[in-house]
Amino acid sequence: MASTDINIDAHEGHGHDHHDDHHHEHETNFVTHYIFSQDHKMISKQFLITGIIWAIIGVGFSVLFRLQLGWPDESFPIFEYLLGKWGAGGKLDAEFYYALVTMHGTIMVFFVLTAGLSGTFSNLLIPLQCGARDMASPFMNMLSYWFFFAAGVVMFISLFVQTGPASGGWTAYPPLSALQSTSSGSGLGMTLWLTSMSLFIVSSLLGGLNYVATVLNMRTKGMTMMRMPLTIWAFFFTAVLGVLSFPVLLSACILLIFDRHFGTAFYLSDIFINGEPLRNAAGQLVEGGSPILYQHLFWFLGHPEVYIVILPAMGMVSHILATNAKKPIFGYHAMVYSIMAITILGFLVWAHHMFVSGMNPFVGSVFTLFTLLIAVPSAVKVFNWITTIWRGNINFTPAMMFSIGFVSLFISGGLTGIVLGNPALDIGYHDTYYVIAHFHIVMAMAAGYGLFAGVYHWFPKMFDGRMMNNNLGYIHFWITFIGSYCIFWPMHYLGEAGVPRRYFSFAEFNFANGFEDLNVFISVASIVVFFAQFLFVINFFYSILNGKRMRSLNPWGSNSLEWTTGAKGIHGNWEGAIPEVHRWPYDFGKDGYEHIPQTVADKDLKEIKTSERLPSR
């Protein structure tokens, strides 16, 4: 306890010291301001922009492999142009198809949705919405970004190695990922993949510990836990999930590195390859390992990972829905407890990815129970969101549009989770396009919408009070929303036909063949959606420089603390003292007031000029 206090004091002192001359210090030194910055707002922007660049690469890869799936007989010069020998003659090489799929999955899940989403908004909002001048440890925070950056550099280099990047799927199951001779991507590409993931894990641990510490210790006066915005609750539990589960992935990676380079057999046993039984360097048969062990370790992170991706989006969507519907989030307590329940249950369901892995079927039964139980808090959240907009007074900002889109996707994708969580049904659907449809809708797209909603909503907080162009935002939303259903909904039909995922071509099997029209449709939709994202990218970068400035300090009429700082983001966030909090952040439409900021005490209510009292609808 004592030590925390000292920390905070020391830190605050530091913040104040800066104050008088902080403009000079931070603007003259380019390196400490833009590169090795310790300001949480700058770090959040670094995460975001890095994430956007990775998103273009990652989604771009999906467009490339969709070209192959949509028009398998066509040749595309772009393959040869971009991929060289892997696209010789305009034909995509099967090996490289798998490399693209693997990189797509890895990049999207880890670099875009974990770092880009959670990294960006945890950094931006935890201090601003809790009322802190910065993170508990700004230095660790800076390290967190630079480890992420290093992970990115290594992954990027792996795209260019002779034997190609890792191609064993984003799950990297051994023995495929362990034995170099089984696939060309399992060579140097896989080594770099493992290195990159290890760096990434370090980054996310540094970040996560910081988020937890900040939320627990650095809230401003009056900001009790139960007065925190749902965003903060979500970031908090996301960080808890990450801190507890990422180390397990690290151990999985390390054991895999040992199997690959040091002759151990954690994951290997009874292998016959290249015409002879596999022996280690000492000439002994490789025996006794279990590939299923890796799967347990991987999914012990892997499943919480999907919540790491989706919880921040849920938190932001809750906040944005309430703010723009001008109505309290319905069932704040239920929302908090459901996040808690999801966090706890999220640790107890990993083996639902392994029903047909050869794991003991009885173990599968236990995991079924928890898996379907987790549907309950998820359902509560959905009903609460819907009730939140019921009898609201909805202002359709682009952020609000994406939040409503998020709820729609979360419903559509969540319901098929009830199918897949049932082990008997999963026998049929496991590793088919049904799964691809499910997780893209419920996780990939939904979390992507959370990211968009967050950026449209908090853009002014990142870029000194500038706003993004709304009209472009609407066009971006509608193309993306209709487009994402067009891409992923039809994949359910492929799944119903039993079409397996990770297939380079469907032509070899009668049962998988015959969906040519649908595959073309999906590919066209994904190309359209891909290019529509440039509307967002252009809007984003244009608005950083030229966006119109917000008219008031609180453009969306929000109650939370981040809108009480000045238009220009400064080191330390608030010019003067950190404001004190008197209420929860969702007093919308109460007692005739459109909204009551958290900083307003009941006794000062009369003074706020929000509106004359209006009748309730």
Partner: protein, 352 residues
């Protein structure tokens, strides 16, 4: 050239959209912002309504349009049970899908902003929360129990009364093919070990194990209808997955850890050709776990035939023992035992 033009066209569209949007924003700035906001809210609300209507119609239409291409009624006993479970799962989730989407978009449409009113202050209601926790919880419990009953039956042992007639086969996966070893007339697969594998003994069989004497590895998979089939699954290199879509069979092939799946085919290939009115129909075995470059191409055909046809086919098969370890090659094998084996084979076949 074409691609350049394409990219130029796309860039043009983006620039135009960008300019229009910017102009729109400027106009708003000049005119009455409040009115612009109202118009915008009306437009977006209407778009939500139309998207809801057309979206739901498109979903219903496309589901019916593509359903003929879905997998047909499963050709296995447990598959039919799974299908029934799926039906009841759909009964519980499809209505929820329609109701929640309609409420979501309906509310978005209905409650667009109106400057003259406030929203209804309704922060919580524990009764509602209780209702919509309890109902999903009950539905989930029902689905869990139903699902687990199926699952434990599927993964459990073959019922006692069918033990006698089990056909045991062993699927061995390697990059990028499946090989199927039949237990042969003695219904028992002989022991084998990776360390014994060589050109002279491609499956590493232990020739001292009598059960190995009649095991054979044919080029196609033949199985009799209405007899339980026990598939022992293993892999020699990386993970694969033994996937028979028409039978709802899927189980990973794991090097070092033998796995298994048993099922009872209920429709012969010929019957399926009739049912589907497709003389070209064949059952297919595929791989469902990423195993490398040719993962998408690990195909083998499966023929479900009548019992008589199956027995006739069995007779034609040559045991591995006769090809690789018969006495002339391997003098130390007991010829007595060999003879016994022969007799055994004949007896079993005639008994069938």
């Amino acid at each position: 050239m074409m691609s350049l033009l394409g990219i130029a066209a796309i860039a043009l569209v983006i620039v135009i959209l960008f300019q229009i949007s910017k102009a729109g924003e400027m106009l708003n700035e000049l005119g009455n912002t409040k009115k612009a906001g109202d118009t915008n809210n009306r437009v977006q609300a209407n778009l939500f309504l139309w998207t809801l209507i057309f979206g739901l119609l498109a979903i219903v239409w496309s589901a019916f349009h593509y359903s003929p291409m879905f997998l047909p009624e499963p050709s296995s006993e447990h598959g039919v049970g799974i299908q029934r479970m799926y039906f009841w799962t759909l009964v519980s989730i499809v209505p929820i899908f329609f109701i929640t989407q309609i409420l979501l978009f309906g509310f978005a449409y209905r409650y667009k902003r109106d400057e003259t009113r406030l929203s209804h202050y309704f922060p919580e209601n524990n009764k509602l929360e209780l209702i919509w926790s309890a109902i999903p919880a009950v539905v989930m419990v029902l689905l869990v129990t139903g699902g687990l009953r199926q699952w434990l039956k599927i993964t459990g042992p073959i019922p006692e009364d069918q033990q006698e007639e089990v056909i045991t086969i062993e699927a061995t996966a390697q990059q990028f093919k499946w090989d199927i070893r039949y237990a042969g007339p003695d219904r028992e697969l002989g022991k084998k070990a990776v360390r014994e594998m060589s050109d002279d003994n491609p499956w590493g069989q232990d020739w001292a194990d009598a059960a190995n004497k009649d095991d054979f590895v044919p080029t196609e998979i033949y199985l009799p209808v209405n007899k339980p089939v026990m598939v022992k699954i293993n892999s020699l290199d990386v993970l694969h997955s033994f996937y028979l879509p028409h039978f709802k069979v899927k189980m990973d092939a794991v090097p070092g850890i033998p796995t298994q799946f048993w099922f009872t085919p209920t429709k012969t290939s010929a019957e399926m050709q009739n049912i589907l009115d497709d003389p070209g129909f064949v059952y297919e075995l595929a791989c469902a776990e990423l195993c490398g470059k040719a993962h998408f191409n690990m195909r083998k055909e499966v023929y479900i035939v009548t019992e008589d046809e199956f027995n006739a086919w069995m007779k034609e098969q040559k045991s591995l023992y006769s090809q690789f370890a018969a006495p002339q090659k391997n003098a130390d094998v007991d010829t007595e035992q060999e003879k016994d084996e022969k007799v055994n084979v004949d007896k079993t076949v005639s008994a069938l």
